[in-house]
């Protein structure tokens, strides 16, 4: 879902989002680095503060501890905790060399002779002090030395809440500044990328959505874009020209093909017209000779009537074939009758057996346009006839049902050559000299959204065309 939405997003937006994401990543990495540096700097500061407090006490306490002077130790701790900078000292305790408390700033918590070890918990030497989030104090334990000899220990609990608060506020300020910088960079990235990609966007919009023909890029738009892109856009316009020219050529070729089809039928159709003419002329002679015999005249007129009606049907079918491409007529039974009238003489001429099986359901058939389907059927029949050869077999079937319209053309010829197959089934360019009949079938079927299948069963070649059901107004 997200991937689809991402792919459908305009490329400029996608690049800008990617740029923004990279900036955010950069911001995060930078923030992490700075926070880490800040943290180590603050730890150093913390150690300095701790060192200054502990250092002073150590100097003051050394000799008192050596003499185990309880009062002086207490006095020193009490004064250190109550005077000015000592506000940071929350608690302190001093032990002698036996590990017993001599005095502490809070005798209720650590009375004289209390077990010093029990007070230590997580206390660390001053050089290992670090500020950890969520704890507002640090506990430091340091040895007390007199002339290099350890005479006792000092435990100090320092209030570092101000340092931590400072660290928090600095971190927040930093994150806020980084967020703003990241946002600005992302916006700047979007603006720059959008500007750089404007020609691409122009190209994309003129290229059109699928099914919509690409449009020329107006010259004034090209003038406004980056000069580096101008040749590309000019080339695009040239390509559009070339595509238009090709379309026009194809259209003319398709038109010509219709006449080619008729041309291929012309000989048969001429015979179809010529053959009855002998009979008709005989009938007129008979009428002239036996004008006084009403029964002979009547039967001759019947012959004349049938012959002329046949001629009328043939000429109507030819006229219809010519007229169809200019009309928007819908497909009907008569179209297949016309096709039979046109094609049957050709089959007869080659002594071919023609199986004709048409039962289009009226409402479904009328949803299709007449002209392209007549063209598809006629081209396939002519192809089948020439493949079947003298005395061959050609079959045509048309069935309409709820799924659409199925056409089937069968012959007992040798089957499709590779070139013929490509013309009918693929989009590969048509090689010169091969004719365009089959390729035209393919294009017409594609335009109607249909499919073509070619199969060989026994000695029969079957071409199956399926045209999906369509709304009548399509």
């Amino acid at each position: 879902m997200i991937r689809k939405a991402w792919r459908e997003c305009p490329v400029t937006l996608r690049v800008a989002i990617a740029t923004g994401a990279l900036m955010v990543l950069l911001g995060l990495i930078a923030s992490q680095q700075v926070l880490s540096t800040l943290s180590s700097l603050q730890n150093e500061r913390l150690r300095e503060v701790a060192q200054s407090h502990v250092g002073g006490l150590k100097v003051a306490l050394g000799s008192f501890v050596l003499h185990r002077d309880v009062w002086e130790v207490y006095d020193a701790l009490d004064r250190a905790g109550s005077e000015g900078a000592g506000a940071r000292i929350l608690f302190s305790a001093v032990a002698d060399d036996r590990g017993r408390v001599l005095a502490s700033s809070d005798p209720a918590r650590a009375p004289i002779d209390f077990e010093f070890e029990a007070l230590l918990n997580d206390a660390v030497p001053v050089q290992e002090v670090t500020a950890s989030e969520g704890r507002n104090s640090v506990r430091i334990v340091e040895p007390l030395l007199v002339q290099g000899r350890e005479v006792g220990s000092l435990l100090t609990e320092l209030d570092v809440s101000d340092l931590l608060a400072q660290r928090r506020s600095t971190s927040l300020a930093l994150l806020a500044a980084n967020s703003v910088a990241t946002l600005l960079l992302a916006l700047a990235g979007y603006w720059i990328v959008a500007r750089l990609l404007r020609p691409v966007e122009l190209l994309t919009s003129q290229m059109g959505a699928s099914g919509v023909a690409p449009q020329q890029i107006p010259a004034e738009d090209i003038a406004k874009t980056d000069p580096a892109f101008a040749p590309l856009l000019h080339n695009f316009n040239s390509m559009i020209d070339a595509i238009d020219a090709q379309r026009e050529a194809e259209r003319r070729l398709a038109d010509r093909e219709r006449f080619v089809s008729l041309g291929r039928l012309s000989s048969s159709l001429a015979h179809e017209i010529n053959n009855p003419l002998g009979g008709l002329l005989n009938a007129t002679d008979t009428i002239r000779t036996y004008s006084d015999r009403p029964d002979v005249v009547r039967s001759s007129v019947d012959i004349l009537d049938r012959g002329l009606k046949h001629l009328r049907d043939v000429s109507r079918a030819i006229l219809e074939e010519n007229r169809r491409d200019r009309s928007n007529a819908r497909l009907s039974f008569e179209d297949f009758d016309d096709l039979k009238v046109l094609f049957e003489p050709e089959a007869n001429r080659h002594g071919q057996q023609l199986d004709w099986n048409v039962d289009p359901e009226r409402s479904t058939a009328s949803a299709f346009p007449s002209a392209p389907i007549r063209q598809i059927a006629l081209n396939l029949l002519l192809n089948a006839s020439s493949a079947a050869g003298k005395g061959g077999h050609v079959g045509f079937a048309a069935h309409a049902n709820a799924n659409g319209l199925d056409l089937k053309v069968t012959d007992n010829g040798p089957g499709f050559s590779e070139h013929a197959r490509q013309r009918l089934l693929s989009e590969t360019p048509v090689e010169p000299g091969g004719g365009v009949g089959l390729r035209l079938v393919r294009e017409l079927v594609s335009e109607l959204g249909g499919e073509i299948a070619l199969e060989r069963s026994g000695d029969l070649t079957n071409i199956l065309v399926h045209l999906p059901k369509r709304a009548p107004d399509q």
């Binding site: 309880v70 009062w71 207490y74 006095d75 009490d78 809070d106 005798p107 004289i112």
Partner: protein, 283 residues
Amino acid sequence: MRRRDFINSAAATMAVSLPFVARAAAPFRLGLTPVFLDNDALIIDRLRSSVSAAMGEPAVLIQRRTYQEITAMLLDGSVEAAWICGFPYLQHQDRLTLIGVPQWRGRPLYQSYLITGAGDTAKSLADLKGGTHAFSDPDSNSGYLVTASDLARAGSTPVEFFARTIYTYGHRNVVRSVAGGLTRSGSVDGYVWETLAQVEPSLTQRTRVVARSEWMGFPPFAARKDRAASESVRRFATVLKSLDASEVGREVLALLYLDKILEGEESLFDSIKLRMADLPERR
């Protein structure tokens, strides 16, 4: 710097007006035991300057951490006179003489207080057995002798009776020790405790007086007997006893919460003598 300037200019003035004194040259040296507000530089300075002005010669006030040091300085002549405690005075009565006894609240007497933390339920010394205890100084009457002799009368000693004893070398420190919870109880000069109750009530409010001793002679000013007749000692004794007569002197007395300095009599210290009798090793 300022003080030295003052001393120099005062000396110069006196050299003009008091040629005899100027020839005496050496300033008058007074030893002070840390009787009470030993941390109060203002009082020390006022006392020095008023004594100096009244005597017409520069005076130097000398403080030491322990009573013993001041007593030793008095005995070896390092100071001409000293404000000491009745206990060391009696210890060296054969070599010392009284030159004045302060009068506090109408009498030259004071008491020793036995104090505990404000929340402590002890009703007498006996209830404090096994606790920690703060003494002021081993040579202090109120800050040691009274409690030690009380224990001796009960057949005990501080070391046996208390789990631990410490010396704070200052009566105010005894109050701090008890108020801060460092020790459960303490022996303190009643005059100091009462004065602190006025100037630093937040400190004394955290303590409670469990027992008060009998009235005893107030810590006296003393000089060596063989120097008592010297000009400077006699003049100092006169100045002391006439402090309440001058404005500056009354100011100093007011700072010390004292009425005046009396002549004083040996008999004032009889009760201390009785207690000393109970501690034969400290006589």
